[in-house]
Symmetry: C2
Subunit: 533 residues, 2 copies
Amino acid sequence: MAINGATPMVDFSHHLNRKSKARHPSPLKDIIKYMGVEGMISLAGGLPHPMTFPLQQATFDCLPPSASISSEGPGEGPENALSITLGRGASSPGNLDLTQFLQYGTGTGNKHLLSQCRALTEKVHSPPGQYDCLLHPGNTNAWAKVVGMLCEDDDFVLVEEYTYPSAQALWIPLGIRAVPVPADMEGIRASDLRSLLANWDEKGRGARRPRVIYLVGVGSNPTGITISRERRKEVYDVCVEFDIIIVEDDPYYFLQYPSYNHPTSTSTDTTSFTALGADSFLKTLIPSFLSLDTQSRVIRLESFSKTLFPGLRVGYFIAHPVFIERLLRATEVETQDPAGLSQAFVLGLLNKWGVDGYLEWLQRLQNEYRVRRDWIVDAFHKEFLVVPAEDSPVPDAQGLIACLKTSRDGEQGLRPVFSFVDPGAGMFVWCKFYFGQVSRFAELQNQSTSPTKSEDTDPEQIFATELWKAWAGELVLLTPGSYYHPWQGKDKVTTRARGADAGTAHFRFSFATPTVCCLLSIFFPPFFCYVGG
Amino acid sequence: MAINGATPMVDFSHHLNRKSKARHPSPLKDIIKYMGVEGMISLAGGLPHPMTFPLQQATFDCLPPSASISSEGPGEGPENALSITLGRGASSPGNLDLTQFLQYGTGTGNKHLLSQCRALTEKVHSPPGQYDCLLHPGNTNAWAKVVGMLCEDDDFVLVEEYTYPSAQALWIPLGIRAVPVPADMEGIRASDLRSLLANWDEKGRGARRPRVIYLVGVGSNPTGITISRERRKEVYDVCVEFDIIIVEDDPYYFLQYPSYNHPTSTSTDTTSFTALGADSFLKTLIPSFLSLDTQSRVIRLESFSKTLFPGLRVGYFIAHPVFIERLLRATEVETQDPAGLSQAFVLGLLNKWGVDGYLEWLQRLQNEYRVRRDWIVDAFHKEFLVVPAEDSPVPDAQGLIACLKTSRDGEQGLRPVFSFVDPGAGMFVWCKFYFGQVSRFAELQNQSTSPTKSEDTDPEQIFATELWKAWAGELVLLTPGSYYHPWQGKDKVTTRARGADAGTAHFRFSFATPTVCCLLSIFFPPFFCYVGG
């Protein structure tokens, strides 16, 4: 925990919801105090005897941080591997006794692993406020615990204009609704956030002013947008003004890329990649909200899912001690410690690699996904004429527009197919498709405006679903944009009711998994069929 | 899933609470359907690329099922170990591809591991009703999900007379209260359960009749009591009559022991132990509620924490498909799959050992804890005169009474110190101490009856705490019985308000961890000092 004497301590206890406040400290705490006493004979613990654990030794063969990721491939053997062995007893190789990871934990997670998490936090974010760390079993559960701590049923939660569906699937059954904050290419707009909060109509909304904002601030899922440095400061200031807790879910933080240049100016040969020193690398990254957080109002959810692997189900909270204490109480009764083998693996790896080694690994990872980002945007350029939004006939578009050349009555023109923002981070390109000139859409639109049809028809959604299914029939799968619409209640579901642009719908392209050949040769032909290009 | 055509299907959907009913199926389900299509190019998944996972191979060195547990000890090397290796790619040794355990899962858990869980369920319980299985990250979380599915805030939940504190620590903040069901040596009394439900006063209680009973039916924590075969049938029938869902939390199921005989009639030499065949072993075990469950109203929480090791954080639900489906929805947004390395380890081990090997392992484990049960009860016999309850001067006592011989005015007598029930399963002896003849307790009692004292003093609790601290000062740690009092609300906390016997308090002795020497030589001297023996 870093305590900065210059920063006044802010009291956040009023942010705890009724249920979280009502959690009693575990009675076992009284006992744990005595368990540490030298020579104590404990007849108290309900722990199984460690000699009954059938696992005697675990060995993990890993890549070194300097490994060339893409050339290695998943099927390769453990040649040149770096081996982490954990045996039973203190004399175990590397002095990491496996037994501690096999037994029940106390809820906080392994203390050595927590130290590594704190070291990493200091190195990467140097939080200016007071904080502590607590392990959790992945960001999905971490977010569930934060909602369980801060939100009352029927609250509103502030989210980005498009938001991660699993985050809201959690709270929709609680009666919680989203308040989307309008965004531009630099992320959510602080001015809109401010006016939304300043003009909150508690009576009209039927709920108190929101107290929590959920942000994937780097390479947002689905939009790929990273909130800019300047915008972060503005948003933070609004959160201070209106006493908002910022939940920073940031799995793509280390996957930040230089801007895409066409034709690709950076190398796609990942084997010849040279890593920067740790400090130089960190300077290239946008500052996290945590690093700006003089008041400790940021709850940061750290994940290893994108940087090591998702099956670990280990991450950690970084937050004000008041929140960490309540999250620990929830951990004791809702999940207990993350799985021991996962903790052992992460600790073993961080010990072996060192924090600097981990930061080197992250650069190779970043470069690998940067190459993939380039592939997909290259493919857009190859198949379309990509022009800046301001040069296209689409009103209010941001970023770039992928157009088809048209020829009508002998006149050359541009027909916009979709707009997108160069994803400067993460794994996704978020594409807004324009259906205005598609005949099938016009047909659906005509049906929906006929007087026999009810108000809640949604020709945009119907056409988007047809398009999505047609592409899938041609063996190309995208994610429908509708998954990412914030849940504002049953009356705000259709394109019109949400206030979205008529004749448009979004699809999310992931460049994380597919290989280059499929992007270039397989995707586009069926794509053209259905947009009528 | 076993479907027994003869059993009428019962509709349980009315048991789902408001929030659980409101969970939408994950929109990703639409996509998953298409992901399995041959040749599909997916730009949909938000999964990181498997080639970026730094773990190339995992090797687990384990004991064979025939290992002599106690002689092996935790510090031993992996000699004679059975090795489980998981590499990347389909050509991996043993054909278990590690990659699938490193990637995100779908929420259900690995399908091969689920098959093993189903095979084990059929072999051990042969459930007569319809059921399905779903992995969960340990029984703590499993119970949290069940409460999240079945209980409304401010409900009452039926529990044993003394109950596991972490189970109720979860729901106390929700406003849920316990209704303890009186018990005897055969477990909770069906007649009391029946009359409690038949006479439920919804107005007086301020809540609807309970719909859920939480049971640790074998070697209960803390009482060590196992619900008898006959009693199980009676309890099940009452649950059918009043439409109660039975949550069977059964971590000690395989730790069932033959009755203790004094002097110890069974061998304490665990190296010469000979295992029975799997079927013969299973016949020695009391039938689970699941095995009697013709209606599928049992939700069984299966744990590997006591049979393999707790750090795994893997177990599984066995329940009616209606419940499994809702639990899966909760899993998707609250936890995701259990940790991949844990799943890989359990699957690798069950594949290598086989179900029969696992059942052999369980017998050795059972024998090891049986020996420990014998140690502690031997120690009671060595230090006290242990007589059947009916031969002692304590009214209403059950089981055995540990007495001291007294000599007063030349007359020989017996002074009861504590009563206990021979734990036929699990890890605990639950001891009820009698303070009636202790002078310090008499002093506290006098203070509490003085007119200046308020109604809510609790001399029993005060003395029990003094005793507990004094023992701890002498380096012997027990668990205070107060941890296990069901939470019935703020007005039912004191010994008197709970209706417990005056001049008594419980302590829980665990025989799972300590070694024999400490039991015999260290525990009793300080013990005598403070009960004034």
